[in-house]
Each structure stands twice: as structure tokens, then as C-alpha cells.
């Protein structure tokens, strides 16, 4: 038995099914130990893809996703994936091979100080210098990554450490005196939430991914129905509350629905359940919900008061806190408020123009995808216009059904994350919704998907532009386009076919249903649907970055706009 065996043993003990990996000199002992283990190796084509797959696996299942890469460039290729997972509180474990401990700091071949490089983008990390520490470190890594506010943990494993021979398994008792997961429920705090709720006539529940991570969707639903309070969800909170529910106002924020954002400005109380008042949501902080009472539940104490000072807050697991809160509240007098919101819904519905010449719009394709899949698919998006339209038109009803890179906005996330999700939920329909730009950042993973014969649908919405950036240039830089035309794109159908993957081309609105149905019925392996869409549509509603809701552009505009200030 060697150190590498201890690592793999620890993974087996944690019930890990898949390991997303790429080999190299420094992780050879680990790859060797994998042979004959219970773990299934998913050989990726780029380490960034491995981390997004593990992340997608984690988001779809709630269980940690595990990555194994080599030292140096292998390890640095994981940085974007770590940032993505860290920003979105996703439990991912990245195991890196490393040069021999005697070589550390000597610029040895493929040495990268990955421990220090990644400190700002991990929940925690280890450089294992004593082989006896392996079992303890592995146990701590899993414990830390999935408890409290989840997040990625990196474990750097020098080759001499993984090669060390052992007679018996060293002790794995954890030693993390500084790590405390908030336990129990602060009843006083919950009583304060209840008291402030009592007098509200225009409440708004603002639900984020924290509710999904904690498994609080039933409690959120119960609370909304008991209070008769409307619910808005964040981009990552999609699925925490059924968007088809009469009390749902959909997504809020920069590209949220107009009625969600009007609810935000007009509410007298806003109650964050596992959402962190991100700048894409609040816009200009100094004007955000000035007169409303603010309540906040979060498992991470550092989120309380970071951006918004709440009138009452509880640090804890959303599900437990809501369970405690539910018996303390009763129906609020919200009839007038709900009918006002109903009015906004009628006056400012989400809509899009349908070109008369039959040209395709992304919105139409996504709208049809939603209807044809009855809103039941697991949707993994990339980043850009297609992501925002998918968020607007693909209504979700279940937690862990919607995977998207929110905090980091990482292009290249959608497709590999869908692979991870499909592995986590083999019997279910998984659709990757990607733009032609982001798809090309990680589409080398088509080999991975083909080899695994995953019945994944990859919907490439191809506008031959970096659409979201083009939109900003059009609106805020006087339509001066710079570096956004993706001329030189491949034919995505032929590209898929070269991997032995089926590809379907979609060019006319009239063909959408037939082509999507064909793709949905296909289950022999992955299938790519390339939709050639029109190129000039912009995502609305839009609140320019750093602006307030009163600056929201509800409908397409041709008016000249000031450059956004105060935010990216």
C-alpha cells in the first residue's frame, strides 16, 4: 500500500463514483492506484473541463465532485473552475499531483505553487508534506467542502508523498479547531424575523441558491403560501420555487423580469433566503430598497451585512430556520399588493419579436424547448445572451434542475457541467444550452461525452457574435463593435460529426419543433443541435450595471445610453 492508495481509499470511503481526471508525471502513482478501484475515471480533454464537470456533478446531485490533475500546467488549468465553484458555493475537490517535496521552490520541472496561486479561489487547501497526513487531510477536505457554505477544496500531493509505502492506514481524526458549522437555530433571531414580517403589507421573498443547497424548497413554498407573499428567485435560485406558481414573479436583477424588479422597488419588506445581495441584483446599492425592511437568512455569517444591513438576520441552515419560522407566521394582508403585481405582469410580460421572415430567435428556440420538455429538463447554460434568455424562458420547478455560472460568469462552463450533471442523474434529460463563443472554450469535451455515450442534448445557439458583449457595445459604446464578430466559427454539425456525434442544423422557426423533438427522442449518445439564429437581438429587460431599477429598459431601445458606472 502506498500514499496514492490511501487517497483512492479515502475517495471510496466517501462514496465517490466518478473522478474527472487528466494524467501527468506528478500524478502517475494516483492514476496507477485508480486501476482496480471502485472509482470510474472520466478522462477529460482539458483540466478546466474536469473541474466544470465535477462542479456540474455537484450541483446536480448535491454530492462533492472530484478532480485529479497533474502538477504545473495541469494544476493551473483548474483555476477558472475553482473560481467558478467558489463563487457559486459548489462542493468540488481538486487533487493535484506535485513535484517531489525536496524540489519544492526550486523551479523543478512542472512545479507550480498551486497552493498559493489558488488561495483566493478555494474554501480551503492543503499541501500534504507528510504522507501520514493523507487520511486526515482527505477526510477534512470532504467535510469542509460539503458542510456549512460549500466550496472547493484543493489538495496538493507531492509525488514522494503519494509514493510512500505504508504497512497500515494512518489515523484520520480531523484536526480543524477553527472550523465551525453553524448548528441549531437561533430562536430569538427567528422570532425577530416573524415579528417584522407581521406588519408587512408588501412583502417579497428573495430566494437564492442557499435555499437549494440546504434543501429548503418545500419550506420556501410553505412560507410563501402561508404568508401569501410573492417570490422572486436569483439566477442561481432558479428551482428553489416553482416559477409557474401564481406567487412567482420570476428572476430579478439585471435581466430579471420587469415585474420582479418593480416588486423589489415597491415592496415594504424584502426577505433574502440564501441570497447574497449580489451587484447584478441590487444594482446601485445606495438606491436599493431604501425604505423596505430587510431580512436575511444565510449560513455564512460573513454575508450578513456585507452589502446590505438587514433589520433582522439569522445565521443558519435555511431549511432549519424556515421550519422554525413557519409556525410563528400567518397570512398577511397582501391582496392589494398581489393585484398590483398581477397588473405589472399583464403590462410588462416577457416578450420577444418573432421575425416575419421566419428567421430564428434564441428566445423562440428556448421557449419551445421549455414547452417540449414540459419544463422538466436539467438545463446547464453557458454565459451570455442565451443564458439570460434561457433564465427568462425556461421556467424551473425543481431544485438542482438549473445549472449556470452566476458569480464568476464563466464562459465554457455549460457543456462540461452538463456532462457532470448527466453522470450524476443518468436517467434524466439533460440539456446544455450554450452560445457559439463559450461552447468553443470547452467543446473538446465532445470526446468525453461521446466515449461515455451520454444521452446529452447540446443546443448551440449560434449568432456568430459574442452576443452579450455586442449588446453592451451597441447600447453603451455607440454601436462601435470591437472584437465580437466570431467569423471563423466551424460548422458545429460537421464538428460534432467528426467525433461520431450526431448533429442537427436548425435554421428556420418553422423547423424548431421537429428538430427539437428529433433531438429529444434520440438516446444513443450525445446530440448537437446547432441553431443559426438572427444576430441582432438584445436581452431585455435590462438594468444597466450599477444603475437603479428606475433606469430599467423594459423594451428594446434605440436611445443613446450613458456608459454604466460603478460596476462591471
Amino acid at each position: 500500500m502506498i500514499g496514492a492508495d490511501l487517497v483512492i481509499r479515502a475517495l471510496e470511503k466517501e462514496g465517490v463514483e466518478y473522478i474527472f481526471g487528466y494524467p501527468g508525471g506528478a500524478n502517475l502513482p494516483l492514476f496507477d492506484s485508480l486501476v482496480g478501484s471502485k472509482l470510474k475515471l472520466v478522462l477529460v480533454r482539458h483540466e478546466q473541463g474536469a473541474v466544470h464537470m465535477a462542479d456540474g456533478y455537484a450541483r446536480a446531485s448535491g454530492k462533492p465532485g472530484v478532480v485529479l490533475v497533474t502538477s504545473g500546467p495541469g494544476a493551473t488549468n483548474t483555476v477558472t473552475g475553482l473560481l467558478t465553484a467558489n463563487m457559486d458555493s459548489s462542493p468540488v475537490i481538486v487533487l493535484c499531483g506535485q513535484t517531489l517535496t525536496v524540489n519544492l521552490g526550486k523551479d523543478a520541472f512542472q512545479e507550480a505553487d498551486v497552493f498559493n496561486i489558488t488561495i483566493p479561489v478555494v474554501k480551503h487547501s492543503y499541501l500534504v508534506s507528510n504522507p501520514n497526513d493523507i487520511p486526515r487531510v482527505m477526510r477534512e477536505a470532504f467535510h469542509i467542502c460539503r458542510t456549512g457554505r460549500p466550496g472547493p477544496v484543493l489538495v496538493d500531493l507531492p509525488k514522494d508523498v503519494t509514493s510512500k509505502a505504508f504497512e497500515s492506514v494512518p489515523d484520520d481524526t480531523m484536526d480543524i479547531p477553527g472550523y465551525h458549522v453553524p448548528e441549531g437555530v437561533d430562536r430569538k433571531g427567528v422570532e425577530k424575523l416573524a415579528a417584522l414580517l407581521k406588519t408587512s403589507r408588501r412583502p417579497l421573498l428573495y430566494v437564492g441558491q442557499g435555499a437549494i443547497i440546504s434543501g429548503a424548497h418545500r419550506e420556501v413554498l410553505a412560507l410563501a403560501e402561508k404568508l401569501h407573499a410573492p417570490v422572486t428567485t436569483t439566477l442561481l435560485g432558479k428551482g428553489a420555487f416553482p416559477e409557474t406558481h401564481p406567487l412567482a414573479v420570476g428572476m430579478l436583477g439585471m435581466h430579471g423580469t420587469a415585474y420582479a424588479n418593480y416588486s423589489v422597488v415597491n415592496c415594504d419588506l424584502i426577505f433574502s433566503i440564501g441570497a447574497r445581495w449580489d451587484d447584478r441584483i441590487t444594482g446601485k446599492l445606495s438606491e436599493f430598497c431604501l425604505d423596505a425592511v430587510k431580512l436575511h437568512i444565510d449560513i455564512d455569517p460573513a454575508e450578513i451585512g456585507k452589502l446590505i444591513r438587514p433589520n433582522a438576520s439569522v445565521v443558519g441552515d435555511a431549511k432549519l430556520v424556515l421550519k422554525e419560522l413557519l409556525p410563528m407566521v400567518s397570512k398577511l394582508k397582501t391582496e392589494e399588493w398581489l393585484s398590483t403585481i398581477e397588473g405589472w405582469k399583464k403590462q410588462y410580460p416577457l416578450k420577444y419579436d418573432q421575425p416575419l421572415d421566419g428567421e430564428l430567435t434564441m428566445q423562440y428556440v428556448l421557449d419551445r424547448l421549455y414547452h417540449l420538455t414540459k419544463g422538466q429538463a436539467i438545463v446547464s447554460t453557458d454565459v451570455g445572451q442565451h443564458q439570460m434568455w434561457a433564465a427568462q424562458f425556461y421556467l424551473t420547478s425543481k431544485p438542482r434542475q438549473w445549472l449556470s455560472s452566476g458569480g464568476a460568469g464563466t464562459m465554457g462552463f455549460g457543456f462540461p457541467a452538463a456532462i457532470g450533471a448527466q453522470l450524476a442523474r443518468p436517467g434524466e434529460l439533460v440539456v446544455a444550452v450554450v452560445g457559439d463563443g463559450g461552447y468553443q472554450m470547452t467543446f473538446c469535451e465532445l470526446s468525453t461525452a461521446a466515449l461515455l455515450k451520454l444521452p446529452l442534448k447540446i443546443l448551440v445557439l449560434n449568432n456568430r457574435y459574442l452576443g452579450m458583449v455586442r449588446q453592451w457595445q451597441e447600447l453603451f459604446f455607440e454601436d462601435t463593435l470591437s472584437g465580437v464578430d466570431l467569423e471563423g466559427n466551424p460548422d458545429f454539425v460537421k464538428h460534432a460529426e467528426s467525433y461520431g456525434i450526431r448533429g442537427l442544423k436548425l435554421e428556420k422557426a418553422a423547423d424548431v419543433d421537429a428538430v427539437l423533438k428529433e433531438a429529444l427522442a434520440y438516446n444513443k449518445g450525445p446530440i448537437v443541435i446547432e441553431a443559426l439564429t438572427e444576430r441582432h437581438a438584445n436581452v431585455f429587460p435590462m438594468i444597466p450595471a450599477g444603475a437603479a431599477v428606475r433606469d430599467m429598459i423594459v423594451e428594446p431601445t434605440r436611445r443613446k445610453m450613458a456608459k454604466p458606472e460603478g460596476s462591471t
Binding site: 488561495i119 484536526d175 477553527g178
Partner: protein, 171 residues
């Protein structure tokens, strides 16, 4: 940098951090400050009395809100066992300095006189310079420094502030 200008205006804060004595913990702590554009004015680190733990005293300055956020982010670090931003009156605080002062023969007695008033000890005397050791509150050291500046400080080194909470309760 804009961040610096915004964050560095504000009162001084003395933050005591009890950490697990693990590799990289100093970088993690420093990163929490650096990422938010906060300067570390002084930093003292030593083993704590408890086995496996170290104690850091960090002096920084900045707006109340920013410092509160830093304390919370420090607390979030896995290796941080305890962290607190102490008000001056709740702690005993000491700092030590060694200061090398230029002392031409005609100034020597005047320098010694000032040192005496501050109860600074001379620990090395050379032809044209004296090295003093002085212990006390950081403001006493500031005062000593500015007095000695009149004569000419060649170089100096301060330990950074050390604090312990008053009374029986641990810091």
C-alpha cells in the same frame, strides 16, 4: 489605487487572531486584507500558549464597515480559531523597538537625557551612534521616535503591537 483611497481612510484597529499553526496560514490572513485594499500597519506573530496554535496581532486602519467585514472574512478562514477587533481600553498592549540614533559627541548627553525620560535602555554604544531598546505603548514609541528624529535616527525596527485582553478571559 481607488480601493486604497477609500478603504485606508479611517481609524486604527487592533485585531487579534488566534490561528492553527498550519503552513500557509499567514498568506491566507494577509490575503484577506490585501484583496480589500487594506494595509497592514503592523503584524506580530508568535506561538500561542496552547499547543498547535499561534497568535497574531494585526494593526490596520480603515472604515468601521470594512474592518467588520475583514474580521468576518478572517473568521471564515478554516485555520482561524478566534478573531476579534479590540478596543484599546479592553486590552493591555505593548510594543518594543530598537532605535539606532546618531550621536555626535556634542549631542550625546542630550540624547541620553531624552532616552532616560522615556526609560529607553541603551544596548549598544558606538562612536557616533547609540542603539536604544524601548518598550511601551505604541504611542509612547511614536513619541520616542519623533523626539529622536530631532537628533537623527539612522535606522529602527519595531516589533509591532502585541495585545492581550485584560482580566482572566482569554483574548
Amino acid at each position: 489605487m481607488a480601493v486604497e483611497a477609500v478603504n485606508n481612510a479611517g481609524a486604527a484597529h487592533t485585531i487579534s487572531v488566534l490561528v492553527a499553526d498550519k503552513p500557509g496560514v499567514l498568506v491566507r490572513v494577509a490575503t484577506v486584507f490585501a484583496r480589500r485594499g487594506f494595509n497592514i500597519d503592523s503584524l506580530a506573530v508568535s506561538p500561542a500558549h496552547q499547543k498547535g496554535l499561534s497568535r497574531m496581532t494585526v494593526v490596520t486602519h480603515g472604515k468601521e464597515e470594512g474592518v467588520t467585514q475583514i474580521v468576518k472574512q478572517l473568521d471564515k478562514l478554516i485555520d482561524v480559531v478566534h478573531v476579534y477587533d479590540y478596543a484599546e481600553m479592553d486590552v493591555v498592549s505593548r510594543e518594543m523597538a530598537i532605535v539606532k540614533v546618531r550621536t555626535p559627541s556634542d549631542k550625546r548627553s542630550a540624547v541620553m537625557e531624552v532616552a532616560n525620560i522615556f526609560r529607553a535602555k541603551s544596548v549598544d554604544i558606538g562612536k557616533g551612534s547609540v542603539v536604544f531598546e524601548i518598550t511601551g505603548s505604541s504611542s509612547k514609541l511614536d513619541a520616542f521616535e519623533s523626539m529622536m528624529d530631532e537628533f537623527g535616527i539612522i535606522e529602527m525596527m519595531r516589533t509591532g503591537k502585541l495585545i492581550l485582553r485584560r482580566g482572566e478571559t482569554p483574548t
